[in-house]
């Protein structure tokens, strides 16, 4: 799937002339869609780097169920591959009338917009912008100020939205101007501080001393934010339901995907990716690095501003806490999980990262997700037979611990007190939930971290023996402690996911592995 937007440029433009081998970073992205025959043939006249870069593609074809489904999916025409999910999303509000679900849909769309914007900055141009959420906030506040009673201004939508977007883009330009020569870490720091300054300014903006005014003027409402923001209204149609905003957001997502897809394949998109790979090499290829960096920043900020305007309209208000660090981390998690630089990856990452928290909010769903994930993970990673053995051993460990704890006489909760549903019925017989969930849960949580640490140090057979205990411990911690703290668990899961993802698959699900040419 990742081939859709990221490979075409390189493989078309970098096609070997007269069979001359390509070397260097140009050759890194190959076309994973091509079958083994083409690979074998092209292996004769491509550079070593591309051969290395395609290692994963060559080895990953034809194993397991997932790969086969993927191959089937990829063999379909692009129109179907994009059209089918689109159809599902278009029909979603028709099939669903629950306001809560529609609201999740709107949030998903907004998140996808943001992720697409961030993808331009980090996925294409490789700029580590840790102040991205502040642009989102800029757009939201700008729109709120232009269309609420705060300043007594109610501009029509066709004026206020472009104004807010332009304002945000301008801020993006201003932030990127002093930082255009910075790279990597330093850029990250400057933008991180920008994000902090933004929150601080917004919080302090309820008492601004303007020249000429005797009393401090309240502009941003401080910690109370701005409420009573009026909704969008275009051509006489006013958006006031979740359903209408859902379609609005969906429209923008489709437009952006089409637009960014084109940009990505264009001269500019290729230049961006060249900068992301290696600014020095790009500069020596006469790419105007500074200007394109600024452009990426501005485009990203503009997209964030746009989603900000929709956000404040949907929410009927803006509050500084929406644009703080957790949101930033969630957004980065989305882009990186999907695979930065890949449009479908970004969308899927955004979907996972915006729906997952909602699922984790509901105990029954989160339980289901946890157990399905656990079992599927074990069976996916291990060989089926060993996986089944490990799971059986885990069940046995659970019963053994039950017996021990009962014999010791630890007070416990009956199954009805902590679980329900089909899984609960089974779980109630197997898992021991002590009465003092806080203490036991905390101790088990610390033990789990130690156990995971120990597990990663083990090798071979010891690992397999230890695994059932580890699995039982994680089930115990989840059911006893984490399932009672939904919002906390979310953050913990996201934090741990980021670390694990970086170690296991830094390029994300759909991203391409970077090959460092030494």
């Amino acid at each position: 799937m990742s081939g859709d937007d990221s490979s075409d440029g390189a493989s078309v433009d970098g096609a070997p002339v007269d069979g001359a081998p390509i070397t260097g970073s140009d050759a890194i992205s190959g076309d994973p869609g091509s079958g083994p025959e083409t690979l074998a043939v092209s292996a004769l006249n491509i550079g070593t780097d591309e051969w290395v870069a395609q290692h994963e593609t060559r080895t990953s074809t034809g194993h397991g169920v997932g790969a086969r489904v993927n191959a089937l999916w990829m063999s379909g025409p692009a129109a179907v591959r994009w059209g089918l999910p689109l159809l599902v999303f278009v029909l979603f509000p028709v099939l669903v009338s629950d306001g809560y679900l529609l609201r999740i849909g709107v949030n998903l769309g907004l998140f996808a917009l943001l992720a697409l914007g961030l993808n331009v900055v980090i996925g294409y141009a490789g700029l580590l912008d840790l102040g991205f959420v502040a642009f989102y906030g800029c757009g939201a506040y700008a729109y709120a100020l232009l269309s609420s009673d705060k300043l007594g201004v109610h501009l029509p939508t066709w004026l206020s939205v472009p104004a807010a977007v332009l304002f945000t883009a301008l801020i993006g330009l201003l932030v990127s101007l002093p930082s255009r020569r910075l790279s990597g870490d330093y850029l990250a720091i400057v933008t991180l501080f920008f994000g902090q300054i933004f929150t601080e300014l917004v919080l302090a903006g309820d008492a601004v001393s303007l020249p000429g005014a005797s009393d401090p003027v309240d502009i941003t409402g401080g910690a109370n934010g701005i409420s009573g923001v009026s909704g969008w209204s275009v051509f006489g149609f006013s958006f006031n339901t979740n359903r209408s905003y859902y379609y609005l957001v969906l429209f923008f997502v489709v437009v952006l995907v089409l637009g960014l897809g084109r940009i990505s394949r264009s001269r500019m998109g290729r230049a961006w990716r060249a900068i992301g790979e290696d600014p020095l090499a790009a500069a020596s290829m006469t790419i105007r690095v500074n200007r394109l960096k600024l452009l990426a920043f501005v485009v990203g900020a503009g997209i964030a501003g746009l989603s900000g305007t929709i956000f404040s309209a949907v929410q009927v208000g803006v509050y500084a806490s929406s644009f703080d660090l957790p949101m930033l981390i969630l957004l980065y998690a989305a882009v990186i999980l999907g695979g930065s630089g890949s449009l479908p990856g970004t969308l899927i990452g955004a979907a996972i990262m915006s729906v997952l928290p909602e699922v984790l909010r509901q105990p029954t769903y989160s339980e289901l997700l946890f157990f399905v994930g656990l079992v599927a993970g074990v069976l996916w990673i291990l060989k089926p037979k060993i996986g089944a053995l490990v799971l059986a051993a885990t069940v046995a460990v659970g019963f053994a611990i039950n017996i021990v704890l009962l014999a010791v006489g630890v007070p416990y909760l009956s199954a009805a007190e902590w679980t329900q549903g089909v899984i609960g019925e089974l779980l109630g017989r197997w898992l021991f939930v002590p009465q003092d969930r806080l203490l036991w849960g905390n101790v088990a949580f610390v033990l789990l971290i130690i156990a995971v640490a120990a597990f990663s140090r083990m090798h071979g057979r010891a690992k397999m023996w230890f695994l059932p205990l580890l699995l039982w411990l994680s089930v115990f911690v989840w059911m006893v402690r984490l399932s009672t703290e939904a919002s906390l668990t979310r953050q913990l899961v996201i934090g741990a996911t980021l670390v694990v993802l970086m170690i296991a698959r830094p390029q994300g699900i759909f991203g391409k592995q970077r090959v460092e040419v030494l």
Partner: protein, 284 residues
């Protein structure tokens, strides 16, 4: 003048804390070229360890050990605990990423930071802990120079951080380990070829840096009382600013930068806005 003097004392206290945090950033950056975003959270964990040692050992009614021993125990436990935490973070979150693109460890560090904040929240709850220094450590109300009051905790903090910095400078400049550290910072590959065990150097560096952060956490608790699971992020940012101002990678620079940021913050808080702690980031 009195106000100025008091702010000066405040600034020095804050500055020595920031300097310790900045030293950690600088050490780690120097050796690995890695921005350890989780450093602020290590400092927060240090503050918590100190708090629990204090609660566990002392008590205004029934002190188990003499006060000076309690303070020593608090610092030792916090430094040891934070140090070990730092080493663990390095082992699990950064070591596998040492040769990956530069963005990977940064993201991983953000993940660690988020995880630590919420793990502490999970374990100890959202309540802001109060060090209650005045009850637990009753060693007089200090003395005054003119009209400027110097309370003993502030003196302790400044003196202790100077001692820690002195030890660190000796460590970096005079010992075999310090030489290894400087060699790795200068050129890792060449250091490997010279037979330096890079992993060992990195682990020790992380231990030292995190132990300093832990000590800084206890100091903040002793002087400013409040400890919460979100205190790490902002302090980390300030510490990092200090490191950058002083020139990242340079030990002396981190100390000067820390003092500068501390003084700046104290005077800015004192003279400009009465109730908002500034984030003083514009100094970048």
């Amino acid at each position: 003048m009195e106000f100025f003097g008091q702010q000066l004392v405040n600034g020095l206290t804050l500055g020595s804390v920031y300097a310790l945090i900045a030293l950690g950033y600088t050490l780690i950056y120097g050796v690995l070229q890695l921005l350890n975003f989780a450093h602020g959270d290590v400092y927060m964990v240090g503050a918590f360890i100190g708090f629990f040692v204090m609660i566990g050992l002392g008590g205004p009614a029934a002190p188990m050990v003499p006060v000076w021993l309690m303070i020593v125990a608090m610092f030792l436990a916090a430094m040891l605990g934070s140090g070990i935490l730092g080493v663990l973070i390095e082992q699990f979150a950064y070591r596998p990423l040492r040769n990956s693109p530069r963005i990977a460890p940064l993201i991983s560090a953000l993940g660690v930071s988020l995880f630590l904040q919420n793990a502490v929240l999970l374990l100890f709850g959202p309540r802001i802990r109060d060090y209650a220094t005045t009850e637990y450590i009753p060693i007089g109300s200090g003395f005054s120079i003119g009209s400027i009051r110097l309370d003993p905790m502030r003196i302790l903090v400044v003196v202790l951080s100077v001692i820690l910095m002195f030890v660190l400078v000796r460590l970096v400049n005079r010992t075999r380990f310090g030489r290894g550290m400087r060699a790795v910072a200068f050129d890792r590959e060449a250091a490997v070829m010279m037979g330096i065990d890079v992993n060992r150097v990195v682990v020790l560096t992380f231990f030292c840096a995190s132990a300093l952060a832990g000590a800084a956490g206890v100091m903040v608790g002793l002087v400013f009382f409040n400890v919460s699971n979100f205190m790490g992020f902002l302090a980390g940012l300030k510490g990092f600013t200090a490191a950058v101002v002083g020139g990242i990678g340079s030990v002396g620079g981190a100390m000067v930068g820390g003092l500068l940021i501390g003084l700046l913050e104290a005077f800015a808080t004192g003279y400009l806005s009465a109730n908002r702690p500034t984030r003083s980031p514009s100094s970048l």
